[in-house]
Structure formats: C-alpha cells, structure tokens
C-alpha cells in the first residue's frame, strides 16, 4: 500500500506545513494591509481588538437578531474544533508519532454525539443554502463545496470509528484513507478561507451604516456615477461582526468563502454591492440611496409629502423661498 503510506506520511506533513505556512502568510499580509490602511475615523487599536474578541462570545446584536441561527453557528464551530483536537483516536496517533505529544481526551460517547450534532447542523446549513432563494442567489458553488469539505472528515470519521460501511466493498476497505485525505483537504483549505460580509440584495437599503461601524475600513463605499458602490478589502476583515451588529435591516451577514486567488492579492478591493441613488426632482442631483427612500415612502412610514422627492439642499432653498414670500 504505497498510496496509504504516502497519504499518512509526506502528504500529512505537507498539509500541516501548508496549514501553518498559510496562517503565517495570512497574518503577515493582514498586518501589512492593516498598518497600511488609512481609515479616517480609526476608533483605536484597543477598540478594534475588543470588537474582534467579542466575536468569540455570544453577547452581541447578531445573536439577538437571529438567535437560532447564531446558536447553531456557535455549536457548529465548537464541535468543529473540539472533536478533532480532543478525540481519543487522534491523540493515540500523536502519542505514537515522533513528537510523543499527549493531552486530555474527550470521551467517545461525547465525541460521537458532537460529531452527529455537527453533521446535522452541517446538513441544515447545506439545505438552507440550497433551498432559501435569498441565500442561494448570493451563494457561489464554492460555498456549497465549503460545507461539504468541512463535513466530509466528520462523516468519514464517524463511519471509520463505527464500521458502518464495512460491508460495502470499496468504501469499507478505504474509509480510513478517505478520512485522512478529506482531513488533509480541510487543512489545506484553511489557508484559502476568508470571512466576508454579504449584503442581502433584497433587504439592504444602501444606507452605509455598516461602513461607518467597520473598525478597520474593510467595507467602504463611494458614490460613483448613478450608483453607490460598496467595496470590500477581504484581507482587512477581522470578522468582528460590527457590520452585522449595526445593520438596521438585518441585511449584513458574515460568511466564510474559499478564494484561492485572493490569497495572493492582499490589497485588491472587490465590489460587493451597488445601489442606485435617488435623483432630486428639482435639481436632478443624486442624493439618497434609492432602496432606502423607497422604504421610507412605500413600506414602513409612507411619508409621501412632496418635499421627500427633493434633495436636502433643494428643501432648504424651497424653505428660503417660502420665507421670502412670507416676509415680503
């Protein structure tokens, strides 16, 4: 079995080293970009750090806005880290290895239940992404692949540990190989895994409150032509979730994505959303984001006074005109 020894030997080394090198490279690029960035309203490094650390604790608005989804997400990530690191089977391998490392183990029963929980949540996330039209249109094929790659080591590991598929000839013989391969694939993928804000097309009104709350200047907008364009510098994102906390429409969401090319382009910005601007009926100047004005006029408040069609400058000059007439 030359193949299995290759997978257990050199390829495993390669994936661990690739993983480590990827993390280091990412950190170097990240530091480079974050030092170079010139956010005009920098709230200070301590503030940035606090908003980053808050991500690990469930005390922020994102949890209040979507409690079930947030709880599932926390459970998913806890299982994702705890099971592979503290699994008794993995620690036995570490003890056998040349490093002779060992640490406390998770009981097999717990590991089983956590794996099952993980797989259920992964299946839920996968189905949710396929079925819900709002998320499907925002998703790329890579996003589905991401869930599959993450869930595969757990699935094969569960089968491997329990011998469920031993009766099926090919899978039964090679389930261990597949498990190791999928684990290695996941490790390699980590280097290309980014966090990115998604602005839901139907809910986002283009008010740019997320831009204001972003502590690192990752999200930026500029009014260009007839549109307001939101751009994103993936490398600067510390996935603190400030945009998710701030968004009044619950339109901002933080999502993982795999992007192989992005790893080597630390400073390039990409456009993530473009919102048309509303035109003033008096001076034809562009002033407010269109979806926000439509929401104000038609959906929630139904403020339909004439003045709402004018830009603030024209409203002021109209008011001045009224004053002039009244004081004449």
């Amino acid at each position: 079995m030359a193949f299995i020894s290759f997978i257990e030997g050199p390829l495993l080394w390669f994936s661990f080293l690739f993983f480590a090198a990827g993390i280091v490279t990412r950190f170097i690029f990240f530091s480079f970009v974050i030092i170079k960035s010139s956010k005009p309203r920098n709230p200070g490094w301590s503030n940035t750090l606090v908003s980053f650390l808050r991500l690990f604790l469930p005390f922020h608005m994102a949890v209040i806005k979507k409690p079930v989804y947030a709880a599932l997400r926390y459970l998913f990530h806890i299982c994702l880290f705890v099971v592979p690191i503290w699994l008794a089977g993995h620690i036995a391998l570490w003890e056998e290895s040349r490093f002779d490392w060992t640490w406390g183990t998770l009981s097999d029963e717990w590991a089983d239940w956590m794996t099952l929980l993980f797989l259920f949540i992964a299946a839920y996330l996968f189905i949710r992404r396929v079925i819900l039209s709002g998320i499907r249109t925002e998703s790329k094929k890579e996003d589905l692949l991401l869930i599959i790659i993450t869930a595969l080591p757990f699935l094969t590991g569960y089968f491997y540990a329990h011998g469920t598929l031993d009766s099926i000839a090919f899978l039964g013989d090679n389930i261990g190989t597949i498990h190791i391969l999928s684990g290695e694939l996941m490790l390699i993928m980590v280097a290309f895994l980014f966090c990115r804000t998604r602005l839901n097309r139907e809910m986002c009104t283009g008010c740019a409150a997320c831009e204001l709350s972003c502590p690192t200047g990752t999200l930026e907008f500029r009014d260009e032509g007839r549109n307001r364009i939101f751009s994103y510098l993936l490398y600067q994102c510390i996935s603190c979730g400030a945009c998710v906390n701030t968004c009044p429409e619950k339109a901002a969401e933080l999502r993982h994505e795999i992007d192989i090319l992005r790893l080597f382009r630390p400073t390039s910005r990409e456009t993530i959303r473009s919102v048309e601007l509303k035109e003033c009926e008096q001076c034809n100047g562009l002033y407010a984001p269109g979806p926000l004005m439509r929401k104000i006029e038609n959906v929630g408040l139904k403020i339909t006074d004439d003045y709402i069609q004018f830009c603030p400058k024209c409203r002021r000059s109209n008011y001045l005109e009224r004053i002039r007439v009244s004081t004449r």
């Binding site: 409150a209 408040l301 830009c311 603030p312 004081t327």
Partner: protein
C-alpha cells in the same frame, strides 16, 4: 418646565452668525480635520445662516436672512424613520434629542427632514440642536438666544411664539408698534 418651541425671525436676522459661534462654544464642537486633503476647519454647525436672493425695487432692498437649525417638529419625521430609535422627544419640553450611543449613522433622518437640518459629526453620528436643554432647565436662555444681538431668536412655549409671530405680522403690515 413647559413645552418649548423656537422661532428664528428672518426679518430681524442680520447675518452676523453670532448664534453659530455661541452654539459651537456652548456645545464644544471640535473643528474637523484641519490638515490634509479632507480639511474642513468649519466643522459641525447646528445652525446655518442662509441668505435669500435680494429683491430690489427702487430704493428698497428686501433680503431676509434665514437661520436654519432643527425646528423641533411636533410630528417629527426623523423620529419615525430612525431605525435604531436614536432620536426621541423630551417628554417635558417636547425637544428633539439624539442618543449618540444608539445612532448608527444611516442618515435616514437627513433624507426625511423637511429643512435638511441634520448634521453629522466626525464619527458620522447625528448631532442636532437640543435647544440647550441644560440651560433651559437652569432657567437660562439658550446660547443662541442669549447671544443674538438682533433679538431674532425666540425660545418660548408654542402659544407665546404664535402670539409673538401674530404681533410681528401685524406690526409689519401696519408699520408700527401694536399696543
């Protein structure tokens, strides 16, 4: 304290902008960036004084100056539109107040204000005229009213204001003092 309302008389304003300076001193607004390309030394102003184009007929020049700040609308659209309920009415005086902590800077208030009055500070948060509510509570006049050399700014209850405006209108038409 009773309800408060504000009247800035365009017929008496003489464009000296003392109210702006008094307001800035009272609220301790820092200047914006004074260096670099984005320099804006004027900074945040709660009051803006505009002049209407003059109308000249013979020897008479008619040019009112209008100072625009938050009018403290009774049925304020900004309060209705604010997604984070950062704008609220003081229950006692009906003054429109801003909770800076809650403001997220979406500018929805600016897009619905009939006067284009809201201004935003360096952090992008809304700043609004609060009619110097702390001074009013101490029984003092607002900073702008106290500073105005032309007595063009009045802060009083809505009934007093409407009475004052009626008297002023009559004086203007009749061309003399009303007893």
């Amino acid at each position: 304290m009773t309800r408060k309302s504000v009247f800035r008389d365009p017929a008496q304003c003489m464009n000296c902008k003392t109210c702006i300076i008094a307001c800035k001193l009272k609220h301790m607004f820092p200047p914006h960036n004074t260096t670099g390309a984005a320099a804006d030394p004027k900074g945040v102003n709660l009051i803006q004084v505009y002049h209407v184009d003059p109308e000249i007929s013979g020897d008479n020049v008619h040019q009112p100056f209008v100072s625009i700040a938050c009018m403290h609308c009774e049925d304020a659209p900004c309060i209705k539109v604010c997604p984070s309920s950062a704008i609220l009415k003081d229950s006692e005086t009906h003054i429109t107040l801003v909770d800076q902590e809650r403001c997220i800077g979406c500018k929805a208030c600016l897009w619905v204000c009939p006067y284009g009055a809201p201004s935003f500070n360096e952090d992008g948060k809304l700043v609004l005229c609060d009619l110097c509510i702390d001074r009013l509570r101490e029984g003092k006049k607002t900073a702008c009213e106290a500073a105005c050399p032309a007595s063009a700014i009045y802060v009083a209850s809505p009934e007093e204001i409407s009475e004052l405006r009626a008297r002023k209108a009559v004086e203007r038409i009749a061309g003399g003092k009303m007893e």
